[in-house]
């Protein structure tokens, strides 16, 4: 556990000092909202369209952050140093997934209000709690799968390409669930609580992939 905290602290400190990943993700999301405004030619959107635009934008922003996740480890020999240390290897997975989850949470704290300001028709306040629950569960999926894919992709030749093309299909089920759960929340006179079915699908996906990632992650670090 202390290993996890040490790595997490290192990553957060690195991010705070360099401000490399999260600001880029935020900027990316805001620009994407502007692009959607022009692409859809709509001043305000609601319902399933709003749910889709929000979740897809966050998914792409998450992939952007995923690509940067292990770059410092690779370029500065962090992997070797980690393997030399007498610690549990899964600690790296947990710490990186937690770091990515926090990045996503910070991103959403800025991007969701920006979305409400720029594109969303109905008010954000009534369904906010439900939306937070949906996005939190989706973030777990993005963080776990993103960390796993990033750990695979970082050692490939074309890692900027491999990461997204492997990650996107893997993240389609949580995207379906998150978008479908967010749709009714963002509708005009929509419901204020997300449907339990989609939360259950998201939670199931989170649990399965967390266990799976935990099981296979050691093999990505060998040698």
């Amino acid at each position: 556990m202390s290993t996890v905290l040490a790595i997490l602290r290192k990553d957060l400190l690195l991010e705070l000092r360099t401000l490399e990943t999260v600001p880029a993700m935020v900027l990316f999301s805001v620009v994407t909202f502007v692009i959607f405004h022009f692409g859809l030619n709509r001043a305000a959107i609601d319902g399933q369209l709003a749910g889709g635009v929000l979740t897809v934008t966050l998914l792409f922003a998450a992939l952007l952050g995923t690509g940067r996740l292990f770059v410092a480890e690779r370029e500065q020999g962090g992997f070797d140093a980690f393997l030399l240390a007498p610690v549990d290897r899964s600690a790296l997975l947990i710490a990186k997934a937690l770091a990515l989850f926090m990045f996503l949470a910070v991103l959403e704290v800025i991007a969701v209000p920006a979305f409400a300001l720029l594109l969303l028709g109905p008010p954000l306040w009534p369904p906010l709690l439900g939306l937070i629950a949906v996005l939190a569960l989706a973030d777990v999926a993005f963080a776990v799968v993103g960390t796993l894919v990033s750990a695979i992709a970082v050692h490939t030749r074309a890692r900027d390409l491999i990461g997204p093309i492997v990650g996107l299909p893997l993240l389609i089920p949580p995207l379906i669930a998150a978008a479908r759960a967010a749709g009714p929340l963002l509708a005009i006179h929509g419901s204020h609580t997300p449907s339990g079915r989609w939360l259950a699908v998201l939670a199931l996906y989170d649990v399965v992939f967390a266990l799976l990632a935990y099981a296979v992650f050691d093999f990505l670090l060998e040698d």
Binding site: L148, I152, A153, H155, T156, R157, A158, R159, L161, I162, I165, V166, L168, P169, L170, I172, P173, P174, I176, A177, R180, R197, W198, V201, L204, Y205, V208, F209, L212, A213, A215, V216, F219, L220, E222, D223
Partner: protein, 242 residues
């Protein structure tokens, strides 16, 4: 070293016989569908292709577990060939499915059919297996990472089907259940024979590719022993551990 060529001829002949029998049944025995007529017969090709390719993807994941447990390159090669063959079968399944959808529903693609959509997602995921694999230089790492991918993706297959099925709601009528639930007797028999034929075809092609790959490896090992290390150029784009 296992000889993958053993029994290959018998297996091939059985495959040809069963597929021949399946075609005979499809054309002369199975009744014409009351609604769809002749075009419904593509069902006997499309559904077996899809089922066999999905099973092959999961099989690739199971074989990859064998690699991670044992560290022997042949397990990785088995997994690679299983996924490779499944990819070919699944593209066949997509194309035949599209033709069938066009003929019976009037559209080349039908987003409301959950089976079709989840199948597409699975194919898109597995289409990245080879780009991923061949962008890793080190052969040992290549096997390891490809195995991890195969396991994750193998577990993803059923999960994905659940998620997409839910997304369509429960009211969507299933055209066909995987168990062939509403099929009358002659159709069910024809379908079973077709499924067996396609499964045998998969097994035969898998064995052929394994035989070819292991023969090539043996030849390379012999050349290396006779002519020296430098005489054999490293393989590019191959799963065979050099």
């Amino acid at each position: 070293m296992t000889s993958y060529g053993r029994g290959l001829r018998a297996l091939s002949l059985t495959t040809i016989a069963i597929i021949g029998a399946a075609f005979a049944l499809v054309f002369f025995y199975a009744p014409l569908d009351a609604d769809q007529g002749f075009v419904q017969k593509i069902f006997y090709v499309h559904v077996p292709l899809a089922i066999v390719s999905l099973c092959g993807f999961v099989l690739g994941g199971l074989l990859a577990i064998g690699y991670l447990r044992s560290g022997e390159a042949r397990w990785d090669m088995r997994s690679y060939v299983a996924i490779h063959m499944s990819l070919i079968f699944s593209v066949g399944g997509l194309i035949t499915g599209s033709i069938w959808a066009r003929a019976s529903w009037g559209h080349w693609w039908q987003w409301s059919d959950p089976t079709l959509v989840s199948f597409l997602i699975v194919v898109l995921l597995y289409a990245t297996y080879q780009p991923l694999r061949f962008s890793i230089e080190d052969p040992e790492r290549q096997s390891r990472y490809a195995s991890v991918f195969a396991i994750v993706a193998g577990a993803f297959v059923p999960l994905n089907f659940i998620a997409v099925r839910l997304a369509q709601g429960f009211v969507h009528p299933r055209v066909l259940t995987l168990a062939g639930g509403h099929l009358p007797g002659p159709m069910r028999l024809t379908f079973a024979v077709s499924l067996m034929g396609v499964a045998l075809l998969y097994a035969t092609l898998w064995k052929y590719e394994m035989a070819a790959k292991s023969a090539r490896m043996q030849v390379r090992a012999l050349r290396r022993a006779l002519l020296g290390e430098d005489a054999v150029r490293p393989l590019r784009r191959s799963a065979a551990p050099s």
